[in-house]
Symmetry: C2
Subunit: 589 residues, 2 copies
């Protein structure tokens, strides 16, 4: 749905002053760049330029639910991005410098993340001659999780060596006392907003020189984004992805998710997480419209589902649970694709989504693998239970990925002889992959890089089986396996079976030490709101019932020894359950 037919955005008109005059070319720098005629370096910035050329008046980004809503057309948006590039140069940002962004989903984070802050030419004397051969300065965008603590943010800022921070005023407490220069936004898009003033500084050069004044990066393997892992264990690691990787992953995601010029993407997933699973680029590549909302507010999400023509969004299962259970949830007028990652959706969740007209697609990825690396079709003709089982698997290799393998632990530490597990759906090995959508390296951590890249492959740390049809199914993170009486029990498999109990909303299982068996599973359970009352004061009875439910479905060693009903589970900002925190609780029992 284009903005014109989207009732929520009927008021939108691009403000004329910002539309590039019709004869301005949007190509940047010297497009030939001394390269052969049949080569141009892969770079997601091309997406913004192409969108601005082909659809200058189309709504690129809407940020409606704030005091001063903003709506930018692709023409205006590309102009603002250009202004930002010149402003950064003016500020002294050079090739390879890191620019941190700390903000909830909003145009300020969307602009830099969508485009990658590349292609900047220092405004030195040399720069007054266009195409002067001065090497491109290229900033690396480093989006930081807004839900981290101040000390975690400080660690990342120091580790990344950020030279500038773009920060939302709500996040300013996270950067108090920093010596790094700040540009603050009030998220108003209006004159007087410090971020807008910063852009204004670039506007003068922008108007004068346009995109041709910004030198394009000639090396497609240059770093583009620095994202930190969620750090569920130890310090977060900085993941460097390249221009080439981002370009290829974004196109594949647009293809696999069937996002096109008629699509509207709602930002439920925080954009700072693994570069928004590459969707900031996929959306622009597709000429689609994106809507940013600052917080995950289910009622607001439903308002956009129902009134803004939303066609796509991404979220972890725990957020999807919140969506289907919101009182505003109802049958949708248009189908929506929900891209789910972080954990497998349960049959119950799939059914609840489908009842509303939401088509779930389960994908799997890591910060290290450009967001997402496998994806699966739907099995429209299968019955729910069968479909849910297939959808719970992680699937097969992604459109632009190299082959994904599941390999046995290296013998004698010799990773040059990687041996694939048989495709029997039973033998467990580690998921490994390589190629264009894998990260370039861990920033400033050659030791961790070497360890992750042993044998010429990226080692995911996820334990999985391979089914006869080539689909990979994760059993567990290596550290989440429960070793009970010498048997390996997959906490994920146990969770999947427990979740089939109709009274359970969410469940997480971790190992708890046991005098006889070494370890036994302990389940933490959130009851569905309709059943909280049912079991009030009868938690023991519920435990017995759930154990019985488990025994009917799982081998003895995988049945939970302990069950605890809780109101909440500890989660990362992206909705991943923090098993480390659960293990800490368990350790104190």
């Amino acid at each position: 749905m284009s903005f014109a037919s989207n009732p929520a955005f009927q008021g939108f008109r691009p403000t004329p002053e910002s539309i590039p005059p019709p004869n301005v070319s949007l190509r940047h720098g010297d497009p030939t760049n001394g390269l052969p005629v049949n080569i141009h370096p892969l770079n997601p910035v091309a997406f913004v330029l192409r969108a601005a050329l082909n659809y200058p008046d189309k709504l690129a980004i809407a940020h409606p639910d704030v005091r001063y809503p903003v709506f930018y057309s692709y023409g205006i948006w590309s102009q603002r991005i250009q202004n930002l590039a010149y402003a950064l140069i003016q500020h002294g940002i050079m090739s390879g410098d890191r620019v941190a962004v700390i903000a909830p989903n909003s145009p300020m984070i969307a602009g830099p993340v969508s485009t990658v802050l590349t292609l900047v030419l220092p405004l030195t004397e040399a720069a007054t001659e266009a195409h002067s051969g001065v090497l491109a300065a290229r900033a690396i965008i480093a989006p930081i999780n807004t839900r981290l603590t101040k000390s975690e943010v400080s660690y990342i800022l120091e580790h990344s060596g950020a030279k500038l921070i773009l920060v939302d005023d709500e996040c300013i407490h996270l950067v108090k006392d920093t010596k790094i220069p700040l540009v603050v936004t009030n998220d108003s898009g209006r004159p007087g907003d410090p971020y807008e003033e910063f852009l204004s500084a670039g506007r003068r050069f922008s108007k004068e020189r346009g995109w041709p004044g910004l030198e394009a990066e000639i090396d497609e393997n240059a770093p583009a984004v620095l994202c930190y892992t969620s750090g569920t264990t130890g310090r977060p690691k900085g993941v460097i992805t390249t221009l080439r990787g981002s370009y290829l992953a974004a196109i594949a995601n647009a293809y696999e998710s069937q996002i096109n010029r008629d699509s509207t993407y709602l930002w439920v997933l925080p954009m700072f997480h693994a570069a928004g699973w590459t969707f900031p680029w996929s959306i622009v590549f597709a000429f689609a419209t994106q809507i940013t909302i600052r917080t995950v507010n289910f009622t607001r999400i439903w308002s956009h589902f129902l009134h803004s023509g939303v066609t796509h969004y991404c979220a972890a299962p725990t957020v999807q649970i919140g969506i289907v259970n919101d009182p505003a949830a109802r049958q949708l007028p248009q189908p929506i694709s929900a891209i789910i990652a972080g954990a497998a959706p349960t049959a119950h969740l799939i059914s609840e989504l489908e009842k509303k007209g939401i088509n779930p697609v389960h994908v799997y990825g890591l910060t290290e693998v450009s967001g997402i690396f496998y994806i699966y079709p739907s099995w429209a003709k299968l019955l729910l239970e069968e479909r849910a089982k297939l959808m719970a698997r992680q699937g097969q290799s992604f459109a632009t990925a190299q082959e994904v393998r599941v390999v046995l632990p290296a013998k004698d530490g010799n990773d040059d002889m990687l041996v694939d597990v048989p495709k029997d759906g039973k033998s467990v090995g580690e998921i490994i992959t390589r190629g264009n959508i894998v990260m370039k390296e861990y920033f400033r951590d050659p030791e961790a890089t070497r360890k992750a890249f042993r044998g010429g492959y990226f080692h995911s740390g996820d334990l999985a089986v391979m089914h006869p049809d080539g689909a990979v199914a994760i059993m567990d993170r290596s550290k989440d396996i429960i070793i009970s009486g010498g048997e390996n029990a997959s906490s994920l498999a146990i969770e999947q079976e427990l979740a089939s109990h109709p009274h359970i909303l969410e469940v997480s299982v971790v190992a708890r030490s046991h005098p006889k068996w070494g370890e036994r599973p302990m389940a933490f359970v959130i009851l569905h709101k309709h059943h909280v009352k049912t079991w009030e004061g009868m938690h023991d009875k519920f435990t017995r019932e759930l154990k019985q439910h488990a025994r009917a479905r799982l081998p003895g060693f995988a049945c939970p020894e302990w069950v605890q009903i809780v109101e909440d589970l500890p989660k990362t900002s992206t909705g991943k359950i923090l098993k480390t925190d659960l293990r800490k609780i368990v350790a104190k029992l």
Copy 2:
């Protein structure tokens, strides 16, 4: 529609002996190849491997309308392609050697063209050690137009230096007396067919070594395909495209055409033309099914439209005219996308296609630009006439292309200062472009390459305007412009207006010399079959009526001075009207 639900292919079952055993990995050579973990060379062969891994049992290619129909699953097909690679190595084919293919659309041409005959390791002593570091041998596939004369084919075989010819027995007269070794196919897929015997020679190695025994090409910029231009003027030129170019163009075509795993592509376009506009790769990338038919038989095409679940096909307007006018034409049960190139579809053609449920998409390309380089959305809400006008334009730059420009003729021959025409829809310039989907070079013709690549851009020779919205509209090939009294008249614009006369089926306009005006337009017209009788014996009256029709729509200098009713127009095998032939007729008048 998958083969299982496609009534025409219900009988298809992959023959068990050819299915790769479940534990065979389909990765080829050493996947790490000494490259960084985050790099794998772009190569369309990856599409076949991925399809065979993910959908081994899905119908890849059906060739139903022959004495011995064949149906290959992706598992079987990838196996046959592997056999072919080993057979070629056995035959002594080495890196960079050209293998010519002369065949109508059939599995024999589809296999090599879809996959590019790369990745072959010579079966020398060294090859007995897998991953031995022996440089990959890589054959270049050279598909040759089956409708050329024997002498034209001889020229191409000699110019290309082909070391082997795969030839259909119906085309064998084209290669009589050649000294180059031949492998003939009876297009039977059965034992005893010489092509099958040739494959058998490779099968032994194939079974033993599989894909891992075939070394992958490490240089993604290595040549992949050698296609000859249709040569409407002078000798055909050999166009070399690369692995990278093919990979990126194919993905973009799959995205833009919305081909996916549920699609069925019917081969109406000859596959030898500009590598089938990159669709041999797009189809496999998408896990779609392709159906090959040996000849353009409209009744047979309708039979597949109606009964084989066809969703996509490509063809020039003249073939589309044949399709809509066939007696078998009717309303389709499923929508079909028709990709049209070669000339702009008229409003009448668009309307006739749409009435049947066929959605036309007009695209533009050259052999030199990996098939296709712009593509346009449909304008569903506009009225037909308005929509036809917009669709007649060539549109905007393609998903993975660099910017397309329209530039003024170089001043003083200085092509380093390319000046864009204003975006006014009026100023005429030449279409130029560059980047990943442009050819690498003209084979063995550095002079023509240099001329085409002047200023760091590929010069198309097509004259066009750029509209304010950035859409390019071709006025003419430079040589087709009619200079009448010092005014430039676009033969295409004249044709477009004449074609709006309801009695006209097809029309072509060329310059004819005129004593007063220098040149004046002459129109060659095919009447619609329902109107041939209407004007029988009254061609003069029709000429007067058509001139009047023209005067109401065109400036005086662009009105045809002469009109000739003909039964046929001279055309290339891909349906492009041969204006050179018309000019020869005109010269003799």
